[in-house]
């Protein structure tokens, strides 16, 4: 199959759908081609990987289950063979619906500067220069990663042929710092965009991360306890992600694994709290035009005005739950199943100013991040871990820093204790999210600063 020839892909994919639908209710085909360039450099070594993967998955839905297969052999004859084999043991489908409207659309994320237009040697020089700038500091080592990912997807069902080209450029700078106790700690800053313009702020990011070195070096462990806490956009986003979030995934809810199912329509937070998943935010790492099941993107409010509202969904569970489908059916790759997954997840913007929020705290914590987290959709437990934090005393940030701070608690208590939401807002966090510890997909998160009372930190 000639992948440069879109009409040929469409022709073959429609043929495969037709073959499968002879023996199933609904069938689709998804091609994923992903090209990644990764340059990783530290003070002493450099690694370059320019890798790609390409494969196709075929799914046949009988009305009660999916049969799914995948291959990296894209010869038409092989694809026809595996499509036939996939449905060979299914009963003949005598009611193939007529296709009325056929949708054929192509989407492309170009960014301001295509990474393809930049010479490889310039990307290499960029990492060299970044590491060189960090060499001036008193560090044990420092790393700069340049990552560029270009993904092409083609989805086909009986009434749709959709293609999209997604593009992401991510830069990371990581200084390694010798702490007062002799151990190695690190800090990091990341710059991200859907084009090479991500790299333009790198000097600013380096300066910002280098400013934190002395704080990281002397930071102490926090005394476990309850604190009035202001979360920065990074931990705010991870809190949104780990709560509703994972707690709003329809497949999890359908299995009876999400407490949210019992609380749709319930008030869980003050009126000014909103939690949203929105794959349509172009500049974010979780952006796409349609999901891996051919649904077009739109925002989903999981919590609106403090009330638990909608799920993020994939097709199997949502058909059984009788709700509307959102564009969150995503697979790690062509050889993985699609699940209900997040895209860009965040708390909605508020009206308070950060300055006033800090000024209102007599004794508390400014939780900077970055953090990772873990979900608990059934128990509504929350865990955020490994963040940096700073003390707030008498309405001012003071020079007392904490290292490796974690958050734990019960979700309704945490959300109920949100007292202020800032108007300052940023989508900051780009990462890969697992369902449990597997099925990794690209996501982003962020939001405003939140003032939360009685937050359990340790």
């Amino acid at each position: 199959m000639d992948l440069k020839n879109r009409s040929e892909i469409k022709k073959i994919f429609l043929k495969l759908v037709e073959i499968m639908e002879q023996r199933c209710r609904r069938a689709d085909v998804l091609l994923i081609e992903r090209k990644e360039l990764a340059i990783s450099r530290d003070f002493s070594t450099v690694d370059v990987e320019n890798v790609s993967e390409r494969g196709i998955k075929l799914r046949a839905y009988t009305g009660n289950k999916y049969y799914e297969t995948h291959t990296t052999n894209l010869d038409e004859a092989n694809l026809v063979k595996i499509a036939e084999e996939l449905v060979a043991n299914l009963p003949e489908n005598k009611e193939i619906p007529l296709t009325k409207d056929f949708l054929d659309k192509d989407f492309s994320e170009k960014g301001k500067i295509s990474p393809d237009s930049i010479k490889f040697e310039d990307k290499i020089k960029l990492t060299e220069s970044a590491v060189q700038k960090m060499k001036n500091s008193n560090l044990q080592n420092a790393r700069c990663n340049y990552e560029e990912e270009i993904t092409y997807k083609a989805f086909c069902s009986r009434n749709k042929f959709l293609t999209q080209r997604l593009q992401r450029v991510l830069m990371l700078v990581i200084p390694y710092i010798k702490a007062e106790d002799g151990s190695t700690r690190y800090a990091f800053e990341q710059a991200l965009a859907n084009g090479y313009e991500a790299t333009k702020d790198i000097d600013e990011k380096i300066a910002k991360v280098l400013e934190t070195i002395e704080h990281v070096k002397v930071a102490k462990r926090i005394k476990p306890g309850k604190y009035t806490t202001i979360t920065c956009p990074d931990p705010t986003g991870v809190l949104a992600h780990e709560s509703f979030g994972h707690g709003a995934e329809s497949d999890t809810a359908y299995k009876g694994r999400a407490k949210m199912a019992e609380h749709i329509g319930d008030k869980i937070a003050p009126d000014f709290v909103n939690i949203i998943d929105d794959p349509s935010i172009e500049s974010a790492y979780g952006h796409y035009f349609f999901d891996d099941e051919g649904e077009f993107v739109k925002p989903t409010y999981m919590v609106k005005d403090g009330v638990i509202t909608d799920y993020i969904t994939e097709s199997f569970s949502i058909e059984r739950m009788g709700k509307k489908q959102s564009a969150n059916g995503r697979a790690q790759s062509f050889d993985h199943k699609s699940y209900a997954r997040m895209s860009t997840t965040f708390f909605g913007q508020g009206e308070d100013s950060l300055k006033d929020m800090i000024a209102s705290v007599k004794d508390g914590i400014f939780f900077i991040g970055p953090v990772g987290g873990m979900e608990d959709p059934k128990g509504w437990g929350v865990q955020l871990q490994r963040g940096m934090a700073q003390k707030i005393k008498n309405g001012k940030l003071v020079d007392e820093y904490y290292w490796n701070v974690s958050v734990t608690g019960y979700l309704p208590t945490i959300l109920g204790n949100i007292k202020k939401v800032s108007k300052e807002f940023e989508i900051t966090h780009a990462s890969h999210c697992g369902k449990g510890h597997k099925e990794w997909v690209e996501v982003a998160s962020g939001g405003p600063y939140l003032l939360i009372e009685n937050l359990d930190l340790g």
């Binding site: 003070f43 002493s44 450099v46 049969y67 871990q385």
Partner: protein, 443 residues
């Protein structure tokens, strides 16, 4: 046809006189997965095969070695040539201090890491996977108060072939059977769940009865769990928490991370060879990496540089004995490469597991973490407890939530290990460890 792809690739690499060394990794991966949703409905059968060809080219520049890694997805000779030329150009700009990229050729031990069930036809394998899931369902059904919420049975049959310019041609087949089982039961007025998961290399090694029994006991304890109060004192880790501590789900534990030659070369390790890795007050840790255990989940006969596997003592009686090293960083540090990192073996202690709970003060037992994710070099952690127990006045009271706070290095400095051992997904070691002073944050 399959052989042709390798032959074409090899021909292009051999003919290109600019290339000084090359390695091809060909990986074929077959999957047979079954996903079970609510009411034990079969939601999805996933089967399929992927084939990947990963090539690294090397170019010598006096005291330097340029290298770049690419994958080949188009197999026409002209496309391969184009990709290889691009890789050579990338290699010319990504130079490291020189090292010999491959080990000398030597005999590689053949390890049995593969389930012969995967030699059967796809139809037969699917039937075996279905039977396996049915056995799990029946085992769960023995417990009337427990609900089988969902499960995933994911299997993989992976064949890896390494071919180098130095004449290595090494092949290894390895399989894995992963089960994720979600059980629920009624707790204090509401349903609670527990996610149990386990991986083995073969169906035969997967003891369904023990796996389900453990999961059932755990979810019952979760259903009775309250919240912890703040605590400072002895903390006992049992499986799976002890496994998570020494073999985290993601990354390596900070002891292994600090023992790597790469970390040493990067100047980020705080360890020194022949020196203690912590200020030991209790039993001294002995930690090995053994990649040679038959059917070991983390076993592997060779690494990416064709260095054979070995049973490596990393830490003995608290002293750092060897750095874990691939070929590149071994050459830089002028030490012998150690081959692939393998299963983590911790030497058992002198006391029985029961004795670890003895003493006048209460003890906390941590059975399961939400996610144990210590800082990779510093070893600090503050990890949420998914299931723990307060052992006090002869009672074992379950709790859920709160954070276990400490440092891996402080913890192992004052520890006692059980003499009974357990084997779980690449961890071979004591069934329980007592850390004599850690903090649990209350809720």
């Amino acid at each position: 046809m399959e052989k042709d792809k390798l032959a074409v690739l090899k021909k292009v690499l051999v003919q290109n006189k600019e290339i000084d060394y090359w390695v091809i990794a060909k990986i074929i991966e077959k999957k047979y997965n079954l996903y079970l949703t609510k009411n034990v409905q079969h939601e999805n059968y996933l089967t399929g095969m992927r084939e990947d060809y990963i090539v690294t080219v090397f170019k010598k520049y006096e005291q330097e070695l340029g290298e770049a890694t690419i994958t080949i997805v188009d197999f026409s000779e002209s496309e391969i040539k184009k990709k290889v030329d691009e890789a050579l150009f990338a290699a010319s700009l990504s130079r490291n201090p020189f090292y010999e990229p491959f080990a000398e050729k030597e005999k590689i031990i053949k390890l049995n890491l593969h389930d012969t069930i995967f030699d059967k036809s796809q139809r037969d394998i699917q039937t075996i996977v279905e039977d396996f899931s049915e056995k799990i369902r029946m085992e769960v059904q023995k417990n009337k108060k427990i609900k089988f919420t969902s499960a995933e049975i994911l299997t993989v049959d992976r064949n890896s072939l390494l071919m180098t310019s130095k004449g290595h041609e090494l092949e290894q087949r390895k399989s894995a059977v992963y089960v994720e089982l979600i059980l629920t039961t009624m707790g204090k007025g509401e349903e609670v769940e527990f996610l149990a998961d386990k991986t083995e290399t073969t169906f035969e090694k997967f003891n369904i009865s023990d796996f389900v029994k453990e999961a059932v006991e755990t979810v019952i304890d979760v259903s009775n769990a309250g919240h912890p109060e703040a605590f400072t004192g002895p903390v006992v880790l049992t499986n799976p928490a002890i496994h998570e501590f020494f073999v985290p789900t993601m990354g390596e534990n900070p002891i292994v991370t600090n023992s790597s030659a790469r970390a040493k070369y990067m100047n980020v390790s705080k360890f020194e060879l022949s020196k203690p890795i912590a200020k030991f007050k209790g039993e001294k840790l002995t930690l090995k990496s053994n990649a040679l255990i038959p059917q070991g989940l983390r076993s592997s006969a060779f690494d990416a540089s064709c260095v054979p596997a070995r049973n490596l003592t990393i830490v003995e009686d608290g002293i750092l004995k060897n750095l874990v090293s691939g070929k590149q960083f071994a050459d830089y540090l002028k030490i012998k490469p150690t081959g692939p990192l393998g299963n983590i073996q911790i030497s058992p202690g002198k006391l029985s597991a029961d004795a670890l709970y003895e003493g006048k003060t209460p003890v906390i037992e941590v059975k399961s973490f939400s996610w144990f994710d210590p800082s990779p070099y510093a070893g600090d952690f503050a990890s949420e407890i998914r299931l723990g127990y307060l052992i006090k006045d002869g009672k074992r009271i379950p709790f859920k939530g709160g954070l276990l706070v400490g440092s891996v290095f402080d913890a192992i400095a004052d520890a006692n290990y059980s003499k009974e051992t357990v084997e779980d997904a690449g961890y071979y070691g004591p069934k329980a460890v007592r850390f004599n002073k850690l903090v649990v944050s209350g809720l």
